[in-house]
């Protein structure tokens, strides 16, 4: 029997980014899914190996515009890990403030888009309306609405002056009230309940098998959170709880994100209170980076982002590897999309908050006839590893 395939993309009204899904369907039921990526690949790792560490921060920020603090933060963690650089306390608090504000804005953005995907534009407009004050705080602290350029190896680039803190706390109060309202409205909404409850279930075992991270894993009952497991910056100094739910359906993924917004506001408030009094410099000047390797992890809004840096004592990385959370989260759709109606497939695909800009770190080679030449890609990769090994060991 021939199989019916529904193509979605690369330019589709519901997709913000160019990506391509092939949904195999039997009648109305989805039986399989195949994803074709590569429309966003820009060769970050290649360019990064040709830039200095400070220039690389500018570059890795542009891996993804939505988590544009998570990537630089993981990258500076990796570079600091090479020499075990300590950062000043004040810098740690500022890093945490920016990181958590980013989580709030990213989750609100997802909440809005999720509403848009199920045809519930009211939720989209509400969520994005209350995202604006957060971008205003960003503008006050960092000077830009997105792409904050706050991270430096050894600290942060800009200070938050103590006199700027009380107005920020006031804005935060307003945001907290609105968030509590949105959280209640979203959780009690009959439309959201009937569209999302029991849809696209990802079981706990499947989440483990597919190595899911972030809210996708936490909605399936896996308590993994880099902020708790390996607290860096100021996460060990603040009080918050990781949100874990059990059902693994799209509704739980929504609730996890909404509750995380509330937790993030708590963290930002604690850090800002500390910033009123915490003294000291904001940048521990790192003059040189010795030869070695380092890893950096950070809990991005979508899950754990991982950067690996190998250095040779010069001012640029010899090898820079990025693993983004969506890279492991997107394959979980294979399980959660199976057997659901076609109409629910898109919200299930969107429920992992896929970010293709983050994901596309590998090039997909085709020959002149359009046939994939994967074995050669493997060979290229092995050759490169061999070359690197020769470079290092002489």
């Amino acid at each position: 029997m021939s199989q019916t395939v529904v193509p979605i993309g690369p330019f589709h009204p519901l997709l913000e980014e160019a990506e391509f899904f092939r949904l195999s369907v039997d009648g109305e039921t989805v039986t399989g899914i195949d994803t074709d990526i590569g429309y966003m690949h820009r060769g970050h790792e290649f360019i990064s190996e040709r830039k200095t560490f400070t220039q690389s921060i500018f570059l890795v920020e542009r891996i993804c515009g939505i988590c544009s603090t998570s990537h630089p933060l993981a990258f500076v963690h990796a570079v600091e890990d090479v020499d075990n650089v300590e950062i000043p306390v004040r810098a740690a608090y500022i890093r945490t403030v920016v990181g958590e504000l980013e989580r709030i804005h990213s989750h609100l953005l997802w909440l809005g888009l999720a509403g848009h995907f199920i045809g519930y534009d009211t939720l989209w407009m509400w969520a994005w309306k209350y995202r604006e004050p957060i971008l205003e705080i960003f503008e006050t602290i960092t000077g830009n609405r997105n792409h904050y350029a706050m991270m430096r190896v050894g600290g942060v680039a800009r200070d938050v002056p103590p006199e700027a803190v009380p107005p920020l706390l006031k804005t935060l109060d307003m945001i907290e009230r609105k968030m509590a309202m949105i959280a209640k409205a979203a959780a009690d909404d009959p439309v959201l309940r009937s569209r999302l409850k029991g849809v696209g279930v990802l079981s706990r075992q499947a989440a483990i098998d597919y190595c899911a991270v972030g809210p996708t894993a936490r909605a399936s009952g896996l308590a993994i959170d880099v902020r708790k497991d390996e607290p860096k910056d100021a996460y060990a100094l603040v009080d918050f709880k990781a949100i874990v739910l059990e059902n693994g359906d799209v509704y739980d993924k929504l609730v996890v994100r909404v509750l995380e917004i509330i937790e993030s506001i708590k963290i930002v408030r604690q850090c800002l209170e500390k910033l009123k009094t915490a003294p000291g410099p904001i940048l521990n000047d790192v003059k040189e980076v010795t030869a070695g390797e380092g890893i950096g992890r950070y809990e991005a809004p979508r899950g754990e982002v991982f950067h690996y840096v190998r250095t040779d004592g010069s001012n640029r990385p010899l090898r820079h590897k990025v693993r983004a959370p969506s890279y492991v989260n997107i394959p979980t759709c294979e399980v959660s999309c199976k057997g659901i109606p076609l109409a629910d497939a898109l919200i299930t695909l969107a429920s992992v908050d896929p970010c293709y800009c983050c994901t596309e770190r590998a090039v997909h080679l085709v020959d002149a006839r359009g046939v994939r030449i994967t074995p050669d890609l493997l060979q290229l990769s092995r050759d490169k590893t061999e070359r690197l090994r020769r470079d290092i060991h002489g």
Partner: protein, 139 residues
């Protein structure tokens, strides 16, 4: 075409072409539609099909894989169509100039009419670009 352009300028329908950006300009474009900026007041509407579009908003450095698709989208759009490059990427290539996977001459893929500078440009800057485009169309 003066009479045509003047009528077109009353309500520009835009289509969003994401040609390997970093997502930031894309979310700022969506931001334009939400209550703070709300460009639908001026008849500007985001449409789902390129066949309905008067303006293409192109974001990102165009990479080798997406380039033929972007070219095809431009060919499918009913003419006259105006192409606005949003952000530093279509304007100058941003920090991706050295990459092996980006198109070197973006103008060969799709001819740009307006560039909006900024990484990402503020929503006000994008509104300004559209207002200038409307001004040109009105003659």
């Amino acid at each position: 075409m003066g009479w045509y352009n003047r009528r077109l300028a009353k309500s520009l329908w835009v289509f969003h072409v994401s040609a390997s950006p970093c997502n930031n300009c894309d979310i700022e474009i969506l931001d334009l539609l939400t209550p703070r900026y709300d460009v639908e007041r001026f008849g500007i509407k985001l449409v789902g099909s390129v066949r309905h579009a008067d303006v293409l908003l192109v974001t990102g450095v165009i990479n080798e894989k997406v380039a033929p698709r972007v070219r095809r989208l431009y060919e499918q759009a009913p003419k006259p169509v105006f192409v606005v490059g949003i952000g530093t990427c279509p304007t100058s290539g941003c920090c991706f100039k050295e990459s092996y996977n980006t198109v070197q001459r973006r103008e060969d893929v799709i001819p740009f009419d307006v560039y909006v500078e900024g990484c990402p440009p503020k929503p006000e800057a994008m509104i300004d670009a559209i207002v200038k485009l409307v001004g040109v169309l009105n003659g």
